[in-house]
């Protein structure tokens, strides 16, 4: 029982990181309809920005802010410099996937040349505390707090603000939204920025969690993030949160009881099962019967 709680606790930490990333991924996909395979590279950039802050002596919260800002800047730049111009050239969904994949390959390898093959570690003081029979370090508690704050923030943004309503409208029917006088270009930029903040923060928390990260850490998590987003129902932030919790906890249990090398495989098996038996994802029915981003 004790071991079980430890695994669940570790799973909740993974789930928090996954939730931040998957909500960012799915929010941007829902609003702009671009499957962004360079997402993992932006995570790495966020983690590296936080490393810079850590080296000059910033604390955890300053690192998180730096990671988030760097992620937002990179994400908006990606959209403005590459994605939007290609969309205006008339590239469709699958052509765009090839573009974001090329972008990911370019970013990953430039990062490899600039920052090298080595690993980076943050120097952070650690403490540990006991919550409900599960042991967490201070960093892990901060990670979970960040995830909860991020999820509540996204919920309030989407439900309570004009901007959130505009994002949901753009996601459901961009042409109608434009016809109603919404600046859909601006809304897309905001979606990329928010997605970038979540992505950067997820990168920092992942780097804290793995204790030594390299330039490939973010991209290594990409497919698990996509799995969480799809299990939740793609384009549905609340579903992505549920998907992240499911995948985070189940992979942690499988990794703990069976074999740590099976964690990625478990995430993919969960995804295949969902795609085959419940392709609309968790979100429909559990969270909402309405459309994307509802």
């Amino acid at each position: 029982m004790h071991l079980f709680l430890e695994y669940v606790g570790f799973g909740l930490v993974s789930a928090s990181i996954l939730a931040l990333a998957a909500v960012g991924f799915t929010l941007q996909y829902g609003v702009t309809n671009v499957l962004n395979l360079a997402f993992g590279q932006v995570m790495t950039l966020g983690a590296l920005a936080a490393y810079g802050v850590n080296v000059v002596g910033g604390d955890v919260w300053e690192m998180v802010v730096a990671g988030g800002l760097c992620g937002a800047a990179a994400s908006v730049a990606l959209n403005r410099v590459v994605i939007s111009p290609f969309a205006r050239r008339g590239l469709r969904l699958f052509g765009m996937i090839v573009v974001t994949l090329s972008l990911s390959i370019i970013m990953g390898n430039v990062a490899l040349i600039v920052f090298g093959f080595g690993t980076f570690s943050y120097s952070l003081s650690t403490s540990s505390s006991n919550v409900l029979g599960m042991t967490f370090t201070g960093d892990q508690l901060e990670t979970m707090a960040l995830a909860v704050a991020g999820m509540v923030g996204i919920r309030l943004l989407l439900q309570r603000t004009r901007l959130g309503r505009a994002m949901r409208a753009t996601s459901t029917d961009p042409i109608l939204a434009r016809a109603c006088g919404m600046n859909t270009q601006l809304i897309a930029d905001v979606a990329w920025a928010i997605s970038g903040v979540l992505c950067g923060v997820a990168g920092v928390t992942e780097a804290i969690s793995v204790s030594a990260f390299s330039v490939t850490t973010g991209d290594g998590l990409l497919l698990t993030i996509v799995a969480a987003a799809i299990v939740g129902g793609i384009g549905q932030p609340y579903g992505a949160m549920l998907g992240a919790v499911l995948i985070g906890v189940v992979t942690s249990l499988v990794g703990g009881y069976a074999n740590p090398t099976y964690t990625d495989l478990t995430a993919f098996v969960i995804l295949v099962v969902f795609l085959v038996f419940r392709p609309v994802g968790l979100a429909r029915g559990v969270v909402s019967e309405r459309g994307v981003l509802a």
């Binding site: 050239r89 370019i106 040349i113 799995a227 295949v272």
Partner: protein, 348 residues
Amino acid sequence: MSSSLQFYLALLLVYAGVDLIACWGLNLQMGIGGIVNFGFVLFQAAGAYTYAILTLGAPAHNAGAGAGFQTYFWGARLPFPLPFVGAIVVGGLLSVVVGLLVLPRLRGDYQAIALLVVSLVASGLILNDASIFNGANGLSSIPRPLEAALGLSGLGYSWAYVGFTGVLCILSGWVVWQISRSPLGRVLRAVREDEEAAKSLGKNPRRLRLIAFVGGGMLAGLSGAVLVAYIDAWAPSSWGYVETFVFVTAVIVGGFGSNVGVAVGVVLVPIVFGEAPLFLPSLVQASWFGAVQLILFGLFTMGFLWVRPQGVRPERRVKYAGRIKKLGASVAVAGDGAGRAGERGGTQ
């Protein structure tokens, strides 16, 4: 020409032939059948592993003779054309299983992601369980077909194999060309464009998609066998998901749905974009070389899609009106209607 350059050229030509067969298979699924298969490399891998175990012999035979370094679950030693036939059959059978599992339930981008994930799960299984196909180390020392029987020099055999690959390319090209211009190809395009309309004409989209998917899977299996028979080793690292994206990129750069366009895409993407960086002056540090090569690959691909988003040679609209007129005035009235349907079917 120096012999090392000749070996390099022969290898490049075999790669080109393998990519051509594979991309024609992918185009049958993706361009003509409308199934975007992001797990395509799985079916190539299935063909490659099948060829390997059908030529390596039973694993017990390998225990002696210094070849007991690899484990696999079963093996046989079949004479020349049979391992290739086996690879085609296994590629097709695996496509039937995966197709029945994924195709009827999911559509569009979900289907693409599901297929990608199926290939990742398969790769993860083989990586983690060494008793299937020797895990991460993969299978090696896979015999080349008829190498001893032909008794050629190393270089002579390489060029003979290039010829063999060429013959298979011509055969595969003939098959995909026949399919895409046959009534089957027309119906597949109709299903791709408008499933409901095709249904209303009594066509069965589910069955038709499965046919396209299995056809593509058989070609993928063949391409895997042709590749592994020449390079004589195969491991999970040979079929990462990036390999699939190289094929998808070749089809999109060449032109969705056009078999000639896909051939151009194969020459451009894996061959020119992939190999050109090798001829760069050695300005870069050796340890960065792989990274620089991939950056250039990405830049080439993006640059190309910027200049020609629709691909080098997009699928042509098929027009039947002219052909039907020749048949005579009695069918001209019906032909007018068919001509319009044909024009619709030809657009993307």
